[in-house]
Symmetry: C2
Subunit: 131 residues, 2 copies
């Protein structure tokens, strides 16, 4: 194993790094596409995610595989058959991300309006406890 030095700041650094890794344009969308737990083929994913290019989908899947969030299985058949599936850890991310999709779905219109209107939202925020 690795020595357990001051884990507090180290954990924080890793968490920060992991957050910036999953907070890119495609990762969460791919996770969402795989969220039903069923293994999916490359082309299927490309359809489901939407306007993603083959390049970025490949890249995103490779990162997810490397981070142990997705499994990649290759079936050695004549037309290559590869499918992807969430690992338990990936599925847990999917669950955590649910709150985000719900929020996005719920507030998309309001945000779009706010963007056009430049109205002043002078209300104050309530305290939120996270940890």
């Amino acid at each position: 194993m690795d020595t357990v030095f001051d884990a507090t700041s180290e954990r924080d650094r890793l968490a920060r790094e992991l957050l910036t890794r999953i907070a890119d344009k495609w990762t969460l969308l791919v996770i969402e596409a795989l969220e039903d737990g069923a293994p999916k083929r490359f082309t299927r994913l490309q359809e489901q995610v939407g306007e993603v290019s083959q390049k970025m989908l490949t890249k995103t899947l490779r990162q997810l595989e490397r981070d142990g969030l997705v499994t990649r299985r290759v079936h050695p058949v004549v037309p290559p058959h590869v499918d992807y599936q969430l690992t338990p850890r990936g599925a847990s991310l999917g669950e955590a991300a649910c709150a985000i999709w719900n929020w996005v779905d719920e507030h998309a219109e309001a945000v779009a309006q706010a963007r056009n209107a430049t109205s002043d939202p002078r209300e104050t925020a309530q305290d939120v406890d996270c940890d």
Copy 2:
């Protein structure tokens, strides 16, 4: 105003767009920094977020303000005093994002290990229901 055409795909498009907007390198970190509901000054935010450059912090705050997630207040005093605060909508995003920070904090080490080990995570995922 705008006509209400087929809202289904329109909502989906807006939601997709909003997701990619908040899924950048800094937005969630800024939201987190403001999550306690207290107004914070620019420099304070810069310290709290971490390695963010002044440029990106400004940009991120401007986007958040435009989207009605953050308020920006300028006090016309000799040394300029500007503070930022979450709007209720911004706070609701903070709550939704909590699930993500918790997940990240919980899995950061495991993911870091998976990245180094290239072990095969051959377990299968369970079904997750979101909507």
